[in-house]
């Protein structure tokens, strides 16, 4: 099977990344100063090669780089680390939600949803989650599902 340029560039990118990790690990574990120096030089060369092939792959559209993150999502992560909590407004029109839910994961899940009736209860919900009774709603009762704890008195 003949590989095209995209396949080749992808494999080289992968080889470079693994090579850098392997050489870095070996250098860290090395006690022989001359060998350590050699490994560090190899790592520097490997990093330059990785940069070169990355630029070439992006320029030729052989590789799709990650897009810049939305500034609101960055802000939520920053808040999480500076304040220990991320503002969460809760579903529209519903009051009483604690503003402690974590940021929505880019994969589409919002964790840490706080039920006002059961303090401390956490359940991950996908974006576009519908409340019970709504069209297309399926209660999560698959393997591994645990009923939420009863409300505290």
């Amino acid at each position: 099977m003949k590989l095209n340029d995209k396949d080749i560039a992808g494999d080289i990118l992968s080889m470079c990344k693994h090579g850098i990790a392997d050489v870095t690990k070996a250098a860290l574990e090395c006690s022989n100063p001359r060998l350590r120096q050699t490994l560090r030089q190899m790592r520097d060369q490997e990093e330059q090669a990785h940069e070169q092939i990355t630029q070439m792959a992006v320029a030729n559209r052989w590789y799709l780089p990650s897009e810049p993150a939305d500034h609101r999502v960055i802000g939520r992560v920053e808040n999480y680390f500076t304040q220990g909590a991320v503002p969460y407004a809760g579903p529209p029109g519903v009051t009483g939600y604690r503003e402690t839910g974590p940021a929505v994961h880019p994969g589409g899940w919002a964790g840490g949803y706080q039920e006002p009736r059961a303090q401390g209860y956490h359940e991950a919900r996908p974006i576009g989650h519908q409340e019970p009774g709504g069209p297309g709603y399926h209660h999560p009762t698959g393997p591994g599902y645990r009923e939420p704890p009863p409300p505290r008195p």
Binding site: D5, D11, G19, C30, S31, N32, T38, Q45, A49
Partner: protein, 67 residues
């Protein structure tokens, strides 16, 4: 004589094998790639991987370790 630990010997064994495969793959890619820029990169880095392999093998030739 250079001293080599077992951990260093294992690293050398692993890295020399990696360099060998990498050099062969890059040589093969240099013959397959359509882009002249990519072909040139592959040739250049296949040589580099071969040189790295030789450098690492030189540590084994010194036969560092317990006599």
């Amino acid at each position: 004589m250079t001293h080599l630990t077992y951990l260093e010997l294992e690293s050398l064994r692993h890295l020399i094998g990696e360099c060998e495969v990498k050099a062969r793959k890059l040589e093969a890619y240099a013959g397959q790639a359509e882009s002249p820029e990519l072909r040139s990169f592959c040739r250049q880095h296949a040589d580099s991987a071969n040189r790295s392999r030789q450098t690492l093998q030189s540590f084994l030739r010194e036969r560092g370790g317990v006599q």
